[in-house]
């Protein structure tokens, strides 16, 4: 009998696939169920945002575009852009504005992490945590909506200020949420985090060692999941983050190896607790009076020059590199998007795992295709 011929199977995961978080296409080379190679293909959601920004009449008009990059965490994107522009223009914003920005950015971080852990549960096969997460995310979106009228793409943080003042009951609402949320985290933990099946599916899967993570320049929960203690909020403070107390959560390999999917997941869960801490401090600190538009420039005409400013979004380090030629519209806006960089570790950590693990790994990287393709 001649030897049986076996062959590797190439299979396309995506762009229409329930677990690729949008329109990612992963070309999988399979040997049975074992992944020999995984090659991510991107570009299905490319909308030329960087190029668009150059043709705007005004820097202000870029903000709706940066909103749409990482649409799960729009406030964080705006904040990064606003901070870059403010540094370029030399604008100082008031304490009240900074506090509101921090509250919003942290609420957005919680909202974004809720989507991340909810959909992660969905990838692993648990449907219920997903809807529980969305239920709580709605509360955050309600706060956003009552402030600026939009629920997803806010155009709220402007260069030099904010588009709206917060409503009068804002502080109460935020305090309510700070009260409401921590018990819910425990519930997610009961339902999903410490479930044996979930741990089996995620622990020791897709292990990303710290040196590999650093070599790939990954950032955010991916990097911290690998045990690297690095958070721009603490290590390169922007806004008024240096005045709050919070811990930087790192993965410790509690359920398996340091840097596995479970670590990346738990970093997000614990970061939500830290965000709640920051919000609680910021609400107490926030002055009641003050014009949020006081520092908004009438026309934004930065001097000729360039700037790179980076912030810690829920997904990692988001940097804006802006070149101005001294006119009203930007000469170049380049975003260093965290997901794009983070996704590049996918082939490195998914070789040798199984098809189901690829789903788990992609989910744990928590990508938003809008930001990768821009």
């Amino acid at each position: 009998m001649p030897e049986l011929r076996t062959e590797e199977m190439v299979i396309n995961m995506g762009p229409q696939h329930p677990s690729t978080h949008g329109v990612l296409r992963v070309e999988l080379v399979l040997d049975g169920e074992i992944v020999v190679d995984a090659i991510p293909h991107i570009g299905y959601l490319h909308r030329c945002f960087e190029k668009h920004s150059e043709s705007m009449n005004d820097y202000q008009q870029v903000i709706p575009y940066v909103d749409r990059m990482d649409y799960v965490a729009a406030i964080s994107n705006e904040l990064g852009f606003a901070i870059a522009m403010e540094r370029m223009l030399g604008i100082e914003v008031s304490e009240r504005v900074e506090c509101i920005r921090v509250i919003f950015a942290e609420l957005q971080r919680i909202a974004s992490h809720l989507v991340a852990i909810g959909t992660y549960g969905l990838d692993i096969g648990a449907f219920t945590p997903f809807l529980h997460c969305f239920r709580d995310r709605e509360r955050i979106l309600d706060i956003f909506e009552s402030t600026c009228g939009a629920r997803l793409l806010y155009n709220y943080i402007w260069v030099g200020g904010l588009s709206h003042d917060v409503p009068t009951d804002f502080k109460d609402k935020v305090r309510d949420f700070v009260q409401y949320f921590p018990p819910k985290i425990k519930e997610y933990n009961d339902l999903l985090t410490y479930n044996k099946i979930f741990i089996d599916r995620t622990a020791d899967v897709g292990v990303l060692p710290a040196d590999v993570a650093l070599n790939y320049a990954s950032s955010g929960p991916i990097l911290r999941g690998s045990g690297v203690n690095w958070d721009l909020r603490r290590d390169d403070p922007y806004s008024i983050y240096d005045q709050f107390e919070f811990d930087v959560v790192v993965g410790k390999g509690e359920m398996g190896t340091v840097g596995d999917c479970w670590d990346r997941y738990i970093v997000r869960v614990r970061e939500m607790e830290q965000s709640i801490r920051i919000i609680a401090q910021a609400v107490e600190r926030m002055p009641d009076e003050g014009d949020v538009k006081a520092a908004v420039p009438k026309r934004i005409r930065p001097p000729e020059g360039e700037i790179y400013a980076r912030t810690e979004t829920p997904r990692g380090e988001l940097g804006y590199y802006i070149i101005s030629d001294g006119s009203m519209s930007p000469y170049r806006v380049k975003a260093r998007s965290p997901c794009f960089v983070n996704l590049s570790v996918l082939p490195a950590i998914s070789r040798g795992s199984m098809v189901s693990d690829v789903v788990a790994i992609v989910g744990s990287i928590d990508i938003v295709l809008g930001e990768i393709d821009r």
Binding site: M56, P64, E145, G149, H164, E187
Partner: protein, 206 residues
Amino acid sequence: MKRYFKDIWDSFYTIGIGMGVTFRHLFTKSVTIQYPDVKLELTDRARNRLYVNMDDCIGCDQCSKACPVNCITIETVKAVPPDDLGVTSTGNPKRLWVTKFDIDIAKCCYCALCVYPCPTECIKMTDVYEFSEFDRHNLLYNFSTMTPAEVENAAMKFEKWQADKAAAKKETTDKKKAAGEKPQPKKQETGDSNKNNPPDENKSES
């Protein structure tokens, strides 16, 4: 061996806890609403469909310039004496016929950037969010209240006025009186009840 039995115990224990959570939720009150029957009250800052109060619009083109996606198209014709368009409710004099004010709401990204620069606060976002259409062309909202005939008339008069002015300059003689009947701008009902009505759904002529 110990590990083996611990795994079994862990599985049953954590599954039991998870089942407890879901069982409790079986009897908690649902957070969803029956949407078309019950509707949530939107905040007064809600940013949904745009509405333009044409009575107040002075045709200054500020909103169109502010829009990042260029979905507002404005064409104006200068009103010539003796037509007087009056003043807006904020006291700004109106000097232009707004012959065309189209908002392609399908392109609009609801950023509200057009709302802020308006000097007369006549373009605003309403809380209407149910305006889906089968045909995308119906989403091109036509806010201008002038009929094509009126537009032509205004344009004609402006041309005539310009020609007259040129002639007057040249000949330095007295201005001739503009002839022909004067079109009256079609009055649109004002008031808050009108705010949420869908705008005219005429397709654009262009």
